[in-house]
Amino acid sequence: MIKTDHILDAKGLACPMPIVKTKKTMKDLEAGVVLEVQATDKGSKADIKAWADKVGHHYLGTVEEGEILKHYLRKASDSEVESEKNHPNIISNDDLETKLADENITIVDVREPAEYVFSHLPNAISIPLGEMENRMSELSSDKQIYVICRTGTRSDLAAQQLADSGYDVINVVPGMSEWAGPTTSSL
């Protein structure tokens, strides 16, 4: 079970309806939220990916459960890439890659659970940005914390929250969108 914000039931519908409905549903969603589309049309997998890539939404992946295909999409926002980063301490992807074996750091992935499960750094733990305030206490203040998201924007917000609470925190820029190092999936 992957936690998502919204579920669209397109089971039993033939092409083009799964995409027509997905498109309509996405339009009404807030940027950044994750939609799970349940479909039984096998062709929907290639089409939903092609459509999402074209319009700029993030196709996260598809899980097959028997006859049902569950597609995961995250609604894009234009501001995400260009927005200003406010947290002063940052590290590049390449530099983080050299620290992966360091036991004195904690890597926190603040993307949505569905983004995390399909692909994340092998030793990253998942705390979505929206849950950071409540779950901050899970983190040890003895370790340096590296926060990562897709493009560095959500992790910038998380870094500010953590810094305000006294953590030694560094934002990974740009993050998963250009990560070339090792990854793993939790499926």
């Binding site: 033939a14 092409c15 083009p16 309806m17 995409i19 027509v20 498109k23 096998k42 062709g43 290639a46 089409d47 092609a50 459509w51 074209k54």
Partner: protein
């Protein structure tokens, strides 16, 4: 105007007769890039249906004003959706392909190759996939060679002509399409022939297709000729000393490749011996009939894919590679990608797995990739 429905047979006859055909293919770009309806007289453009959900206005300038527009998709749902949008936008002459590319992949067009004593030889052109199968008839008896899984095409054809199918034969264990040979033989109580060397893992009974064991259909003799190289068992069929069915060994514009079972290195010499020695000793007048074609241009005036053996020794570049090392490179390097699901297709043809109808369909979707181009 209403949206018209076009059957795969109508589209096939337009392609074969080289009639103008304008296609709007609304599948995703990857599917279109992989395979599409092609032909000398065919113009097609690709705009995925999901780009047209909100309207077709941007597309209108790209469409011809004076021609029928055939909308094509994977199964047909999206082509109906887009077709109706076009009509709403005021385009008059719009149709869709019934059953979509799925139907196109399964359509067979029977064309007559020539007369035989007491009958004739027919080629069944699977135009969407490039597969060719054959039916030999003589004095009310028939044999089917390299049958596709759509066996009702042969049974209906035989019924209409009052023929009894006595035998079905596969020139080799196919990896690019699911054979209908065994199923057809079972249905008509005929004999299924398959080369022994390819049948090591086959789980059902069959009769060996091998040199010396000629098969007689009415007044016609079918003579197996061992011609390995695509597979170790590949066997050609000489029909009445006039036609040579070469399976996947020799095509009109190219030659077979030996790697489908992962045996490229082992089978190169077999392939070379078949093409450069065995066939060369045969009569140049023989009409070569392959199991595949790769380009629509290979279809002759009547739709038949064929060539005289001596012509192929003149024109087919695959038969003009003097150096053995160069030949080895050509047939083992830079090969096109393997056909979709080829392992599963082989296992199905061996009787090891029995996927349902829908899965069989899916396994065969996509282009044929058997030849070295």
């Amino acid at each position: 105007m209403d949206l018209k429905q076009r059957q795969a047979s109508e589209v096939a006859s337009k392609v074969l007769n080289k009639e103008d055909l304008f296609i709007l293919d609304v599948r995703n770009e990857e599917a279109y890039g992989d395979w599409k309806i092609e032909g000398e007289s065919v113009t097609s453009i690709n705009v995925p249906y999901f780009d047209l959900i909100d309207g077709v206005e941007d597309l209108l300038p790209e469409l011809p004003k004076d021609k029928e527009i055939l909308v094509v998709c994977a199964k047909e749902g999206s082509s109906v959706f887009v077709g109706e949008e076009l009509i709403e936008a005021g385009i008059e002459n719009v149709s869709y392909l019934s059953g979509g590319m799925k139907a196109w992949s399964e359509y067979l067009e029977p064309v007559k190759v020539g007369d035989l004593p007491g009958g004739a030889l027919y080629q069944f052109v699977r135009i969407g996939k490039g597969c060719l199968s054959y039916l030999v008839e003589s004095n009310g008896e028939a044999a089917v060679v390299d049958a596709t899984r759509m066996i009702e095409n042969y049974t209906t054809f035989a019924e209409n002509k009052g023929l009894t199918i006595k035998a079905t034969m596969d020139t080799h264990l196919h990896a690019d399409h699911i054979s209908g040979g065994k199923a057809l033989a079972d249905q008509v109580n005929g004999t299924y022939y398959l080369p022994e060397e390819d049948a090591g893992e086959v789980t059902f009974p069959f009769t060996a297709l091998k040199e010396g064991n000629n098969v007689t259909i009415g007044e016609v003799t079918i003579e197996p000729i061992y011609s390995p190289g695509h597979t170790i068992g590949s066997t050609s069929l000489m029909i009445n000393d006039a036609y040579l069915l070469t399976g996947d060994i020799l095509f009109v514009e190219s030659i077979g490749r030996p790697d489908l079972a992962g045996k490229a290195e082992d089978w190169v010499l077999d392939l070379r011996t078949t093409l450069y020695n065995r066939y060369k000793e045969m009569a140049g007048e023989l009409v070569v009939l392959p199991a595949h074609f790769s380009k629509m241009a290979e279809l002759g005036e009547t739709g038949v894919v064929s060539a005289k053996l001596e012509e192929l020794y003149e024109k087919n570049e695959g038969l003009h590679v003097e150096e053995e090392a160069e030949f080895r490179r050509m047939v083992t390097e830079n090969l096109p990608p393997q056909p979709n699901a080829y392992q599963e297709i082989r296992e199905t043809n061996m009787g090891k797995i029995t996927p349902d109808e829908e899965t069989r369909r899916e396994m065969e979707i996509g282009p044929n990739r058997c030849a070295v181009n």
